[in-house]
């Protein structure tokens, strides 16, 4: 299951990443393995999405979300 498959309001816990380059950026922004992520909303046109992670709101594209594998 990846982050891009979650619906608005659903919560997941980060397990690992499928893409090294993306993972470096995501981890710097606080998306670390073991961290809880909640999907806050989806942009009006379906992409990107906004998530709540480590105490703040982050937006990322669906494709980027699909590189985050959840537990």
């Amino acid at each position: 299951m990846t982050l891009s498959q979650l619906e608005v309001g659903e919560i997941g816990i980060v397990k690992e990443f499928t893409d090294l380059e993306m993972s470096v950026k995501l981890m710097e922004m606080g998306c670390l393995p073991g961290e809880e992520i909640k999907v806050s909303r989806i942009a009006p046109l379906g992409d990107p999405i906004a998530i709540h992670v480590s105490g703040y709101q982050l937006s990322l594209r669906k494709f980027e979300a699909s590189t985050i594998i959840l537990q």
Binding site: L20, E21, M22, S23, V24, K25, L26, M27, E28, M29, G30, L32, P33, S40, R41, A43, P44, L45, G46, D47, P48, A50, H52, S54, G55, Y56, Q57, L58, S59, L60, R61, E64
Partner: protein, 703 residues
Amino acid sequence: MKADIRVALVGNPNTGKSTLFNALTGLNQKIGNFPGVTVEKKIGYSQLPDGRKAEIVDLPGTYSLYPKSKDESIVFSVLAEKESELAPDLIVVILDATNLKRNLLLYTQVADLKIPVIIALNMIDLAKKSEIIIDIDLLAKKLGVPVVPVSARKLEGIAELKTAISFANKFALQQESIDVNAIAPDLIESISREINTDNPYFALQLAHQHENLAFLTPAESDRIEELEKEHSFHSQKAQATETIARYSYINDVLYDTVTTPVTAHDESHSNKIDKILTHKVFGFIIFLGILLFMFQAIFSWSAYPMSLIEEFFVLIQGGLRNILPAGPLTNLLIDGVVAGLSGVMVFIPQIAILFAFISILEDTGYMSRVTFMMDKIMRKVGLNGKSVVPLIGGFACAVPSIMSTRTIENWKDRMITIMVTPLVTCSARLPVYTLLIALVVPNRNVWWLFNLQGLALTGMYLLSLVSAIVVAYVMKYILKSRERGYFIMELPVYRMPRWNNVLFSMYERAKTFVLEAGKVIIAVSIILWVLSSYAPGNRFEKIEQKYQQPQYTKTIKHNELNRIVSSEKLENSYAGVLGHVIEPVIKPLGFDWKIGIALITSFAAREVFVGTMATIYSVDGDADRIESVQEKMRNAKDLHGQPVFTLAVAFSLMMFYAFAMQCASTIAVVYRETKDWRWPAAQFVYMTVLAYAAAFISYNLLK
């Protein structure tokens, strides 16, 4: 100004860094560029309680020392270069107290560079409101550095921070965070020996960033590259290891120092606003509404101050003409310099209002929501959600907008944004459009509601957006890039704009505009005046001699004769000769040599058009009759006695101005931003070709 201690301000974006900078320095600051790059450098001075003076450098906001964009890359090089004139004695790291975890990542990286550090724990009031409890003393003890709680917005804790700066140690006393050596032990050791440093984190950063650091010699950089290969160093893997280690240290620091309630108040409050502002339907309606309001405001609010400025300059011109003796120098001063100045100053209200809006939209956090909503559409045409900001800014001026593309991390997205931003109708085109529309479009209402002139102007604005999107779409297929685009962006919580910052940005932008554009416009006005007042050889004398002959003086009235003389002089002046040279090229567009002169001068800056028309037709016309440029142009006749400015000519001209790259400042800034002459050259060529084609088509359709 000589300072006793140099302080660098470092922090994540949206942590209130610039507010704190303003609070520390007041208006005692100056803006320049970091050496060699166009990243804006803000330096201010602050009086410390012990009587010493601190120089404070505001560095661009960043989430980590590993840069993602051009702006961010400056942070590490300023902090790391020991011999530089900017090398700080002390770093103040600003942390957002409501989001300590992510903020501490940058802190631990900076602390490992072993430069003395102080933490300014900002937004402490908001943290209290959200029931986040921070044990500041314990935090300071665990990190080994002073932690000063502040609220930059409310100006609380500023005096304490200044005291902490004045008591700061000369030596770095911060606690070790992670075991840096463990990341790449052999490589760090070899680089440390090579570069002669005893700081393992500095050595590791060199391994990652040596290609982009100006202070390393090429030989040093090559040697580091060799060492990397030797030790099979993988930059991204090392970064991932480092980040995980740092967050694990941060969790250790935070677990007994910070307690956070389950949901923060601020977040849920922001969430409610987001439900409306990024709503499927209302989101776009509100965005359009804000844009419409913004343009209405730019035009209607600026009308009164603009006419005041114009009247003021007319008064000055009249006054100077009375005081000074008549002669070529007086003419140069009044028709060249003062007329040119008034052409610049008149834009101040529009520029200031536009930047007030942009700074309010950014400050409140709304701009990042627009980026969030628009990303999908923008990506389809080869742009990026973040291109929305420069494109909207392009309605004011392409120069600051092109500079603002630095936040776009992806190279291709950034280049396309730079290439199409000058197509957006900037405020310099506005006077050209208003003048020409008023000339040929009747001022009456259709369908009771819409003013025809207003509709024509709206049409020009829409055309510019459509053309920018089409060109972007084409470039998407021309430009090749292997780099991947990504869009990982913080959505900051909504906040009230800080009115001080808004005012400051209005003042700063208006000042920059007057200084930058002013230089060009005054220079062009003077050159144009000289070119139209002097002629090659003795052509002027010949004309005067010719019209002193009795067959002219007897048959033609004095006034009429003067008009003929000055008109023939203009045609024979350097400017006239130049106009005639390009006349064959622009004839198919419906332009004569006088418009040709205006086109040439407009390549320095578009707004010069109005001034050029004024100069040409005042040289040409009867000096006793004072009439507006518009009147003069309306009365202009060609050789056959037909009006020069017909509907076809006016629209052809507008099309030319809509597409042509007529702005020296934009060309210069595109070069500065791309560091390659081929970009501004390509932009100049494609825009000029488009301009010629559009003008040709519209002239022949309307003729």
